[in-house]
Symmetry: C2
DNA sequence: GATTGGATCCTAGCACTGCTAGACAACCAA
DNA sequence: TTGGTTGTCTAGCAGTGCTAGGATCCAATC
């Protein structure tokens, strides 16, 4: 009984190790460098072990994405709760969001650019993803303005942030003026 | 002399065929299905022929991206020139942009999601890309509002459209409310 | 304490990828 | 007709995600 318990624990521990290692490797050298062979070598097991935890590489990416979603939700909530006034909250949210994307590009890719096999905008969407959206909604809903559905407003604001994050990181937008862009976005979109 | 001319023509023709075939295959089955072997088979040549035209797969993606940029610029200009009044022009631009992205998802991916090895926001950015941005700037610059740099405003508006396009296509946003989102975006961002 | 059954893990290999070296054939100028 | 250049293809490399089958170890049973 206790032996099985220990094995279960060790197994769960190894699964966390896989996800953490994949994330680390992706942040260091990009997702292209995250091959099943390299990943297996880093955790000091053979390749097939990965497949006893995950159905495939996609699911590993998905696991990193879920972890990232939880962290992003926490980061957004921490930033917004430390700000007073709707305007400041929205600005803090935007900075927290873009900051997270800039500091964790590989995780952000796992969440929104790569295929992690996750359901979105659906009833069987994993909880961390729903919660991350909820974290945005909490601060953005109050500045949607009259007659505008809070959910819809949040979607639009989120899309704008997502566009800024991805285009900036891909080199499509010069990074210098990020601050001005965020200001413009907050000033125009949010009804305070 | 005339023989060389003919050969040059045929070679250019084959290059167009490669790009068109890659694009077609990508739209039909996604970029993952665009392998050098499949592409070579479709154009009825062997693989190495591809490498006598392009340095690698990346450059083929880049070629599709440039073609797409030119088309998108044309689509945006056609839509905006048919609308009268700044507000209508911006709305038409947004619809043209999102419509292009929705109708040509693989081309849009080549332009903004995949690595086509193209320079951006740089002096040696290819002309079609600069021109596509210019097409946006032409209609968006006039609604930037007082004291806001037209280029900066265009970047922000573009980022918002890009976010809507990618999140919608990836299933992150339900496609039903696209129209409402565009309306909200245009109403809030554009100063008419 | 020896034996057996089952879980766990690894070696080896499959079919595929992008890309390239070197052999071969077709062509044109002399 | 010859010689050389140009163009193309066959064959192969190293790498990818993923899996079948065999080896090993360990806990429960006799």
């Amino acid at each position: 009984m206790s032996v099985q318990e220990r094995k279960r624990r060790e197994r769960a521990e190894r699964e966390r190790l896989i996800v953490a290692t994949a994330r680390e490797l992706a942040e260091q050298q990009g997702w292209d460098a995250v091959t099943t062979r390299r990943l297996a070598e880093r955790i000091e097991y053979s390749q097939p072990v990965l497949y006893s935890h995950f159905r495939g590489k996609r699911e590993i990416i998905g696991a990193v994405a879920l972890e990232g979603a939880a962290e992003m939700a926490a980061a957004v909530r921490a930033a917004t709760s430390a700000a007073d006034g709707p305007r400041e909250r929205v600005a803090a949210l935007a900075h927290a969001y873009l900051g997270f994307a800039a500091r964790n590009p590989a995780v952000y890719d796992a969440m929104f650019q790569l295929d992690g096999g996750l359901a979105f905008a659906d009833e069987d969407t994993p909880q961390p993803l729903k919660d991350a959206f909820a974290a945005l909604l909490e601060s953005l809903g109050e500045v949607a303005g009259d007659g505008v559905h809070p959910g819809l407003f949040t979607e639009v604001f989120w899309a704008a942030l997502h566009g800024l994050a991805t285009l900036t990181r891909a080199g499509r937008l010069p990074p210098e003026d990020t601050e001005s862009r965020v200001e413009l976005l907050v000033d125009r979109l949010a009804k305070v």
